[in-house]
């Protein structure tokens, strides 16, 4: 299935801003994160089809996934 992945902030560095990616049916957000070589603890906000989602959310064909890094500095 086709997933549109949009990356934000530091996740773009060395990767891309937006790309269409092919993933097997039944894939979850965490599978995309792993495929992009992003460490799970670095994940901040996950948006799936414009709604906040969790890393174990199931993807579907045509899904739009946006990943933001965790920001904690003050």
């Amino acid at each position: 299935m086709q997933i549109t992945v949009k990356l934000f902030a530091s996740f773009r560095v060395g990767r891309f801003l937006q790309a269409n990616k092919e993933f097997p049916s039944g894939s979850r957000v965490a599978d995309v994160v792993a495929a992009l070589d992003i460490a799970a603890p670095d994940i901040g906000i996950v948006m799936l089809d414009s709604r906040m989602a969790t890393a174990d959310a199931l993807l579907h064909d045509g899904a739009k996934l946006a990943l933001f890094p965790l920001l904690g500095g003050g």
Partner: protein, 274 residues
């Protein structure tokens, strides 16, 4: 015998109260600068220091700000700028919480730091800075780690709390206390070129949503650090949120988080579940 009210009315230039008259009133009537300022605002007189506010903030709103109390938890990159801006804005009481002293690596971005401040407690430098900027504002320094037990009594008297700390677990602990006492929390976080801001009211659980994937206490700032401008931008937006909440105007970032990418100048607004 001339009253304080008569003295202020006679010394005013139109509806502006020059500092010299305000200071003379403090001396003559042996009242605090804040009391004199509050009396002036009650008479419809605007202390001259606020004259450039007047098309944005009315005299009555300026009085509301003076009667307000705001806690700023964390007096580093974000908190320093928030304290600076709220003191200049005329928020009457600021509670500053931070256990740390200034170190050399703070000098690149923390507005309250200076060469002379190295080794000195951040909250005491905040107190000195506020006294130098606006003597009508009282800063209550708490040189201590955030613990619900020691800080909660102060937060209960606040209309807004500002999250300016650098530790995820402390952010969530502050959020929990604000949830319990029903005080809105203005959150800001930064890392490198990037930042985020939201405003959470009791029951929103916004910070729990933002940090649901966090497994440690740090984020991208661990590797990216923080330059001078990112805390200034994010703290300014937090100060705006505080101001609007205190005087009840505009639309806050409740139920949405604003993310900033200063490298590509992208600002994204994300809806939070509610």
């Amino acid at each position: 015998m001339k009253t304080l009210e008569d003295f202020l009315a006679e010394g005013a230039k139109g509806d502006l109260l020059p500092w010299a008259v305000q200071a003379a009133a403090v001396e003559r009537f042996q009242r605090s600068c804040r009391h004199v300022e509050e009396t002036a605002l009650g008479l419809g007189l605007l202390p001259a220091r606020y004259q450039r506010n007047r098309k944005t903030i009315s005299i009555e709103q300026q009085r509301t700000l003076l009667q307000s109390q705001v806690a700023v938890i964390g007096c580093g990159g974000l908190g320093g700028y928030v304290i600076e801006q709220l003191a200049r804005l005329g928020v009457g009481t600021l509670v500053a919480v931070d256990p740390d002293v200034f170190e050399e690596h703070n000098l690149n971005r923390q507005i309250l730091s200076s060469m002379a401040a190295i080794g000195r407690p951040k909250v005491l430098m905040a107190e000195e800075r506020v006294a130098a900027i606006n003597p009508a504002v009282t800063l209550v320094p708490l040189c201590d780690r955030f613990e619900a037990s020691n800080v909660r009594p102060y937060l209960e008297k606040c209309q807004v709390v500002v999250d300016a700390v650098d530790t995820v677990s402390v952010r969530l602990a502050i959020s929990d206390v604000c949830e319990q006492i029903g005080v809105p929390l203005v959150h800001g976080a930064i890392a490198g070129w990037y930042g985020q801001i939201t405003t959470e009211y009791s029951g929103d659980r916004a910070l729990r949503a933002l940090y649901q994937h966090a497994s440690g206490d740090r984020g991208e700032e661990r590797s990216l650090g923080n330059p001078s401008f990112t805390p200034a931008v994010v703290a300014s937006l937090q100060s705006v949120e505080v101001c609007k909440i205190l005087i009840g105007v505009g639309t806050s970032l409740r139920h949405r988080v604003l993310t900033l990418d200063l490298l590509d100048m992208n600002f994204e607004e994300i809806s939070l579940p509610h």
